[in-house]
């Protein structure tokens, strides 16, 4: 029910301004983008899809920021593991 899936906007339907075709891993579906009327998505942008409607745009910058935080954590972890390996008390 909370199911929201990211999908990429491919194109708008010519005669229906509220409808857009999106792609989710090679699967395409027409959804309603009326809830994003204040800032409609462009083809190539990503949206969050829930029960046939786009609820929100996916902010690529924020996504990149989230990922780089996670990369950083991962790297710090690896560094610590390496440090642990290298340091021997006996």
């Amino acid at each position: 029910m909370c199911l929201g899936i990211p999908g990429e906007v491919i194109e708008f339907l010519p005669d229906q301004p509220d409808l857009a075709r999106v792609d989710v891993s090679g699967v395409r579906r027409v959804i309603n983008v009326g809830l994003l009327a204040d800032d409609p998505p462009e083809p190539g942008e990503w949206v969050l899809i829930h029960v046939g409607f786009a609820l929100s745009k996916i902010d690529e910058d924020e996504a990149a920021a989230a990922l780089s935080f996670l990369e950083g954590i991962g790297q710090a972890y690896e560094d610590e593991l390496a440090a642990l390996q290298d340091s021997r008390i006996e």
Binding site: M1, C2, G34, L35, W46, H50, A66, L70, I73, Y77
Partner: protein, 375 residues
């Protein structure tokens, strides 16, 4: 899959788990509640509890809109479906919810015209294709889904559709969280905030939790790393003595929410003075109904429903599970009389219900799991 696979990386999970463990004060127990049923589902589906230290317990909250529907409302829905010339349409999750006389699924077997839809727009399509029938959409969900129902009604109005209506069971999340906070049975340290509800209502509505109750909230995404990162952010707040609202799901959740969505809801729906929640009792201003202006789309006005309040079966302890007081396996009928095939209560029926998630995914002690993966 983009924006999905990157948030499912096992190595980063280990790193986050180590950081979470490092933030635990020796001897202190931490109880964090994930409000949203979708989070409960992810936690069990990906075995996230395996990554948490013993000191951190996740408590499952009432954010499953299917789970909180009381039996009386289900009976009302069944009564609507049984009316002549009605086609009832519903999300898949509702098909097996038991009323006093079986579920939609059982009614379908007896010949009632009940159809599963993915979107309320599919329901509109059915209405257009069947002008001689009256199509009813069973509208459930929190603020995540209410905008879609609202837009569908606006569309129906624009098209002048005369045979479409909704049976409105939308509920709102804040009163439920407040009921949890006011409950004497629970002592929680922080909240993993609902992700998709927040795309609509934004993060401000949670501010009272930090300000008035002194508990931190982190609005979380639905991938495993999102949840682990959110737990890490909560633990950091707790160790630093902070109580703030943070947004881990910033790539999707705007701080101010979705104004268009809120306007659509406001245009077509209004708050009921009170509504009964399974397990939590009557909560004021916690659910939506169709406004007078859109009465022609309100199934409750167009048809008569019994409107009888039905108590939960005696054996059912869904209420306590929904409040997080009981873990699923602590319910007396869990797994024996109440299973996914023969559910007594909604926690077992909905795929997001804590009991269903635990039964389907988590039904092993941690030690057994470790034995098995070592074999």
């Amino acid at each position: 899959m983009r924006f999905v696979d990157e948030f499912r990386d096992a190595d980063k999970a280990h790193a986050l788990a180590a950081k979470i463990a490092a933030l635990c004060e020796p001897g202190r127990q931490y109880k964090l509640m994930e409000v949203c049923g979708g989070h409960t589902h992810t936690i069990y589906k990906h075995g996230l509890e395996d990554y948490l230290p013993e000191q951190v317990t996740l408590v499952h909250g009432p954010g499953c809109p299917v789970c909180v529907i009381p039996m009386g409302r289900m009976d009302d829905a069944m009564a609507l479906a049984a009316q002549p010339d009605v086609i009832m349409t519903s999300f898949g999750d509702m098909m097996r919810v038991p009323g006093s006389h079986g579920s939609f699924f059982d009614a379908k077997a007896r010949g009632t015209d009940i159809r599963m839809v993915y979107s309320p727009l599919d329901s509109l399509k059915i209405a257009r294709k069947n002008p001689d029938k009256r199509v009813i959409f069973m509208a459930i969900g929190f603020e995540t889904t209410a905008p879609s129902t609202a837009m569908t009604m606006l569309r129906a109005a624009a098209e002048g559709l005369g045979n479409f209506s909704i049976f409105c069971n939308h509920v709102t999340i804040i009163p439920a969280i407040k009921a949890i906070l006011d409950s004497p049975d629970l002592r929680l340290d922080g909240f993993i905030g609902p992700g998709h509800v927040s795309t609509v209502i934004g993060c401000r509505p949670y501010e009272f939790i930090a300000r008035d109750y002194g508990r931190p909230v982190v609005v979380a995404g639905f991938e495993p790393l999102d949840i682990l990162q959110s737990i890490y952010m909560l633990m950091r707040q707790l160790s630093e003595g902070r109580a703030e609202i943070e947004n881990q799901y910033a790539r999707v959740v705007p701080w101010d929410g979705n104004v268009v969505a809120l306007k659509a809801i406001g245009e077509t729906m209004e708050l009921r003075p009170y509504f009964e929640w399974r397990g939590l009792g009557f909560i004021s201003h916690s659910a939506l109904k169709v406004r007078e202006k859109y009465a022609q789309f309100d199934a409750e006005r167009l048809f008569s429903v019994p409107g009888v309040r039905v108590a939960d079966p005696k054996a059912c302890q869904c209420g306590e599970v929904l409040k997080g007081v009981l873990k699923p396996w602590e319910c007396k009928v869990f797994g024996t009389a109440c299973t996914p095939e023969t559910p007594i209560g909604t926690c077992m029926v909905s795929p997001e219900g804590a009991c269903a998630a635990y039964y389907n995914y988590g039904r092993l002690t941690r030690t057994r799991v470790k034995e098995a993966s070592g074999a």
